[in-house]
């Protein structure tokens, strides 16, 4: 069983609010990822990190920001939520490329901005 946790599972929030989606993993993985997934659609990579103090933009442009101060923690922040941010956000982690392992996913956060 993968040890990667996302909180909250569901969030309904008003427009203009600042939100932080939490993601933590206890596997000591260097690489972490954030994906955005709309219902019935593909997963879009929006952020990734190779390790502490490393953050990169993914293939899909996102107004969110991320930080990686600790290996196990990779929070995603929206400074001012808008209805267009309504989506499911999935966090994942994997070992370094030398190990060539798969990504382990959290349960996801389903965000609704009203």
């Amino acid at each position: 069983e993968a040890d990667i946790y996302q909180t909250p599972r569901y969030l309904v929030i008003g427009t203009g609010k600042k939100i932080t989606l939490e993601c933590s993993q206890t596997m000591g993985h260097d690489k972490m990822y954030w994906y955005q997934q709309d219902p019935g659609m593909e997963l879009h990579l929006i952020h990734y990190s190779y390790g502490v103090n490393s953050t990169e933009k993914g293939d899909l442009s996102s107004e969110s920001t991320v930080s990686r101060i600790r290996t196990e923690h990779f929070p995603l922040t929206l400074e001012s939520a808008r209805p267009s941010h309504t989506s499911q956000y999935l966090c994942a982690s994997s070992e370094s490329s030398a190990a060539r392992t798969e990504a382990f996913f959290g349960q996801g956060t389903r965000l609704t901005v009203v």
Partner: protein
């Protein structure tokens, strides 16, 4: 940039039917290939993976996939599906250069009992 194409967006089969889900990727270098499954209400789980070696890989629950380098394909197969295979299936690829894992749009599989 690499990309992943899954040809079937929605597949409906009866139990015991054979399954093949197509997946093609675009990237000229060395790639690692994955199939993930998402059962209703659950998180994404790895079904199988290919890094190197035998191009026919076997995963959990009777699934297998074949890597055909010349066709840039990694199709998923199962000889006889069960009702419990109803789920969404995602093909994914990453390369050893930038380590991003890119997913296809997914195939929603519905098995009729």
């Amino acid at each position: 940039a690499q990309s992943v194409s899954q040809h079937n967006h929605h597949v409906i089969l009866s139990e015991a039917a054979s399954l093949e889900l197509g997946c093609n990727y675009s990237y000229g270098g060395t790639v690692n290939l994955f199939w993930y499954v998402q059962y209703p209400g659950q998180h994404l789980q790895l079904l199988l993976k290919y890094f190197s070696g035998d191009p026919l890989v076997k995963g959990i629950k009777g699934f297998e996939a074949e890597f055909i380098k010349s066709k840039f394909s990694f199709n998923l197969r199962k000889p006889s599906v069960q009702w419990s295979d109803t789920a969404e299936y995602f093909c994914a690829v990453n390369n050893n250069r930038d380590d991003k894992i890119i997913f296809g749009k997914g195939t929603r599989l519905h098995i009729l009992p």
